[in-house]
C-alpha cells in the first residue's frame, strides 16, 4: 500500500539533521498531540512530558522511517497514545488541578460568574465521567469525540480494528451517560 504522506519531505530532511524540518513537524503536529495527551492526563505538565517524548522518538525514528507503510502522523499519534497509557498506569493525577482550583475572588460579584460556574460544573461532570472510563474506552472518546478523528484514523492510532473501536465507543458512551445521570440525580437529591 502506498500512501501520500504530507510530512514525507520534512521527514527526509530531518533524517539528514535539518533543524528547520524538525521545527516544522513539531509545529504542525504539537497542538493535536497536546490535545490528546491533555485530555488523557488532565494536566499540562504531564501532557508536555508525553508530547516531548513523542517528538524525541520522532527524531530518532526519522532516519529509519519506511516510506509508504503508514502515515507519519498516524505513527506519531500511536506513540502518543502508548505514552499516555504508560503515564496513566504510573500515576492517577488527572484533573486534580481543574477540580482543586478556586474561582478568583473578584469573580464573586461578577454577573457572568454564574455562567462560568455552570460551564465549569458541566465540564467537570463530563470530565469526571470521562476519567472514570477504562483507559482504552477513554482514548476512543478522546480521539473520536474530543479530537474528531475519523474512526479509521482513531483505530489506526490505537492499533485496533474499526469494529473494536466502535465497540469501545459504544460502551464508553453508555458508561458516561449512566455516570452523568447518576451524578445529576445525586446533585438534585
Amino acid at each position: 500500500m502506498s500512501l501520500e504522506d504530507p510530512d514525507i519531505e520534512d521527514i527526509r530532511l530531518l533524517a539528514r539533521g535539518d533543524a528547520a524540518a524538525a521545527s516544522r513537524l513539531v509545529l504542525r503536529h504539537s497542538d493535536r498531540l497536546m490535545a490528546v495527551a491533555y485530555r488523557m492526563t488532565g494536566t499540562r505538565s504531564a501532557a508536555e512530558d508525553i508530547v516531548q517524548e513523542a517528538f524525541i522518538r520522532m527524531m530518532r525514528q526519522a532516519a529509519d522511517w519506511q516510506e509508504g507503510k503508514a502515515l507519519f502522523s498516524t505513527w506519531l499519534h500511536r506513540v502518543t497514545v502508548n505514552l499516555c497509557y504508560d503515564r496513566l498506569r504510573k500515576a492517577s493525577t488527572r484533573y486534580e488541578q481543574a477540580a482543586g482550583d478556586d474561582l478568583p475572588e473578584q469573580m464573586a460579584d461578577d454577573p457572568g460568574a454564574d455562567a462560568v460556574l455552570e460551564a465549569r460544573e458541566r465540564g467537570l461532570a463530563v470530565r469526571a465521567a470521562l476519567d472514570r472510563l477504562p483507559e482504552r474506552q477513554k482514548m476512543a472518546i478522546v480521539l473520536c469525540h474530543y479530537e474528531e478523528l475519523s474512526n479509521h484514523e482513531a483505530a489506526e492510532a490505537m492499533d485496533i480494528s474499526i469494529e473494536a473501536l466502535e465497540s469501545l465507543l459504544a460502551r464508553a458512551r453508555r458508561l458516561m451517560r449512566k455516570d452523568m445521570k447518576l451524578a445529576a440525580a445525586l446533585a438534585d437529591g
Binding site: 539533521g17 497542538d31 524525541i56 526519522a62 465540564g123 463530563v126 470530565r127 458512551r173
Partner: protein, 130 residues
C-alpha cells in the same frame, strides 16, 4: 467520527456536552520550554544514518566485540560481582575456620583425630625427623 446519524439522541447530547467542554477548556499549546527541550535533542537524535554507520564501522567487528568485553568487565556490575566473590573467599578462608565447633565439648580422642588431620602433624613429624 464525523456522522452522528446512526447515534441515539442521548449519544448526540453527550457528544454535544463534550464539544462544549472542549470549547470551555481548550487544550494548552506546547510550551516554549518544552519546544526548546525537543529541539535540543536534534543533533544527537537525528544524526544522519550515514554518519551513524560510519561511526559503527570505524573498527572491525571482532575488535569492537573484544573491546566491549574488556570495557564490560570494568562496569559496576562486574566489579560488584568481583568484590562479592572476594568477600565470600575471605569469609570461607578466615572467618569460618575460627568459629568451627572444635574446642567445646570435644573429647580428647576427637581432638587427637582433628590434630591428625591438620597441617600441624606434618610440622611435628618434620621436627621429630630432624
Amino acid at each position: 467520527m464525523k456522522t452522528h446519524t446512526e447515534l441515539e439522541p442521548e449519544d448526540r447530547q453527550l457528544i454535544a456536552a463534550i464539544a462544549r467542554d472542549r470549547a470551555d477548556d481548550p487544550a494548552p499549546p506546547l510550551g516554549e520550554a518544552a519546544m526548546a527541550r525537543i529541539m535540543a535533542q536534534l543533533p544527537d537524535a537525528a544524526a544522519p544514518a550515514g554518519a551513524r554507520e560510519e561511526r559503527s564501522a570505524a573498527a572491525p567487528a571482532w575488535q569492537r566485540k573484544g573491546l566491549s568485553a574488556i570495557t564490560g568487565f570494568f562496569r559496576p556490575p562486574a566489579w560488584q560481582a568481583f568484590a562479592a566473590a572476594g568477600v565470600a573467599g575471605i569469609i570461607a578462608g578466615a572467618v569460618l575456620p575460627s568459629v568451627s565447633p572444635v574446642g567445646e565439648g570435644v573429647t580428647p580422642e576427637e581432638q587427637f583425630a582433628i590434630y591428625l588431620q591438620s597441617d600441624d602433624i606434618l610440622a611435628t613429624l618434620l621436627e621429630e625427623d630432624l
